[in-house]
């Protein structure tokens, strides 16, 4: 890393022709990073491509492969890697996936991969770029395993806002509210958490914020740490699940998007974020609960009693998913079966769209509010053929991660 500028190597095919290269540059600049293309001679390209052994036809994919080999061999130096190719290109999808795996297995470089369309904006890429730079810039902070002092973490999510107070590695206060007005929701949960902890705001040694509203709340609360949710959530997950050493996989199905993170020794290696449609998010489960006339907290136990296999449901799109839901009820399927089918459908979308992009290593930890929906956890476990770990306070994962990481600022303060 040169000074404070994080250097991100771009391995790609098509962004310049899709008119989104500028968006990639803008996203990187916004987080103090610089995107560059590893410099290779034609002889290097020929040799590296041949050595890698994946015989693709497209020239730019051959170049991406050659650049990846150069990065792994240390011929080209970078702090992180951004792999991008056109959405809907099968050849590029194979290369993207294999390069991500290759770099992850043969180096310690953080990698994010993304398939873009011409509609991709810098805003879409921002959190991913921020996570890449965080891993490069704050590796020492991310290695923190114990919370110290009295710290608070606030997670401003798209659906809910959460706050956690921690002291000496223990959670002593929590607060939770649906997100309405961002600052007001944050103030509300902070009051709740402080009350439960029995401490005053001025007693806090450090504050961390994360989630969509992190910048706004961070500025408002004078936070010491303002950090994207990919690194914060994975840190919170491995801390609460007590798997800070070795490999693990963190899955967070959120209200608006999903995160799947491959973690090594508490530090994210590869991750994906997003979802094609809200049909693959917690939003669809909220709609399902509403349509079934139950509270979202009752959906999980309801789904556990049902057999989703008998109900055809595909929530690739939330509109079609809702149609399936209505049709299933009209055909006389029970609420329990429909709830189970909805959970299975969301798990299946996340499995097909996102989990293919990271290496699943056990233990698999599910976090976020949706991890409390047992039917969803069971469905994901069935798909992955593994026992999913849901740690205590899993719905507060972002806040816990923020409180833990913020404690790195305690001594400084």
């Amino acid at each position: 890393m040169t000074g404070e500028t994080v250097r991100i190597a771009q391995l790609s095919c098509g962004p310049e022709y899709s008119g989104v290269q500028k968006e990639i540059y803008t996203a990187a600049e916004a987080v103090g990073a610089e995107v560059f293309f590893p410099d290779l001679s034609l002889a290097d390209i020929r040799r590296n491509f041949k050595d890698f052994g994946l015989d693709v036809r497209s020239g730019d994919l051959k170049l991406a492969i050659a650049r990846a080999v150069a990065l792994v061999q240390g011929v080209a130096e970078a702090d992180g890697v951004f792999i991008a190719s056109c959405f809907r290109c099968a050849e590029a999808a194979i290369v993207r996936n294999e390069l991500r795996r290759y770099i992850h297995e043969h180096s310690r470089l953080p990698v994010v991969s993304y398939s873009f369309t011409e509609r991709t904006t810098s805003g879409t890429l921002l959190t991913r770029m921020e996570a890449l730079t965080t891993i490069a810039r704050r590796r020492a902070l991310l290695a923190r395993e114990r919370q110290t002092g009295l710290t608070m973490g606030v997670d401003s999510g798209s659906s809910t806002t959460k706050a956690v107070i921690m002291q000496d590695n223990e959670i002593i206060g929590t607060g939770w509210r649906p997100t309405t007005e961002v600052l007001q929701s944050a103030d509300d949960v902070i009051v709740l958490a402080l009350e439960e902890a029995g401490v005053k705001r001025e007693d806090l040694d450090a504050i961390g914020t994360t989630g969509y509203g992190r910048f706004l709340i961070g500025e408002h609360a004078k936070a010491d740490l303002i950090q994207e949710e990919l690194t914060v959530n994975s840190k919170g997950a491995v801390f609460l699940a007590d798997c800070q050493h070795g490999s693990s996989t963190v899955i967070d199905i959120g209200g608006m998007d999903n995160k799947a993170i491959s973690v090594l020794d508490g530090i994210p290696g590869t991750f994906t974020m997003g979802g094609i449609c809200a049909g693959a998010s917690g939003r669809f489960l909220e709609m399902t609960a509403k349509r079934l006339g139950v509270d979202i907290t009752e959906l999980g136990p309801l789904a556990m009693k049902g057999m989703g296999e008998d109900v055809p449901m595909n929530s690739y799109c939330i509109v079609f998913g809702t149609q399936s839901l209505v049709n299933a009820l009209a055909e006389g399927h029970s609420k329990e079966d429909v709830a189970a089918a909805a959970c299975h459908s969301v798990a299946e979308q996340v499995f097909e769209q996102q989990l293919q992009e990271i290496d699943i290593k056990e233990p698999v930890v599910m976090v976020g509010g949706t991890s409390l929906i047992q039917g969803l956890v069971r469905a994901m476990g069935n798909l992955l053929q593994t026992e999913i770990v849901v740690p205590h306070h899993s719905q507060y994962i972002g806040s816990v991660g923020a409180a833990l990481l913020a404690s790195g600022y305690v001594e400084k303060n």
Binding site: E16, Y17, S18, R46, R119
Partner: protein
């Protein structure tokens, strides 16, 4: 003088050959440098915008990847003007490379649909094949109307 579409469009050698025989080469005529520091092998103008991928819809449907459509927004207008075409299959990077194999397939198909004179050649593997390659290009270009 005929307007001759060349593919790979970045090939300076093809561009030069076409011009030598008195025709107008239709290509992007961008050199492949010995050291590649830019985004792709064919280094397009970075002022391309998402609108270019939309312009490409004239030649490729919306489900076609945006990179292919963006490329077609550059090559499509050249194809429309083309009165003849020379296509070189499996060229070496240094000869010219269009970056995307799917675009190659589409461009070659659209060229053949136009019912214009087309010379399709494999990239030569050695000097002897190279001489035959140049001879075939020369004969093709001489046979076009308005050759020098």
């Amino acid at each position: 003088m005929a307007e001759v579409f060349i593919y790979p469009a970045t090939s300076l050698i093809l561009s030069d050959l076409v011009a030598r025989f008195g025709h107008k080469p239709l290509g992007t005529a961008l050199s492949i440098r010995e050291r590649v520091q830019t985004a792709g092998l064919d280094s397009p103008p970075l002022q391309m915008t998402p609108d270019d991928a939309k312009k490409g819809l004239r030649w490729a449907a919306v489900e076609v990847p945006s990179g292919v459509r963006g490329r077609m927004s550059l090559f499509g207008p050249l194809l429309d003007r083309a009165e003849a075409a020379i296509i070189v299959n499996n060229p070496d990077f240094a000869f010219g490379c269009m970056g995307c194999a799917r675009t190659d397939e589409l461009v070659e198909f659209l060229v053949k649909q136009k019912e214009i004179p087309v010379l399709e050649l494999d990239y030569p593997a050695d000097e002897e094949e190279g001489i035959i390659f140049v001879r075939k290009v020369r004969d093709f270009l001489k046979g076009l109307a308005g050759a020098a």
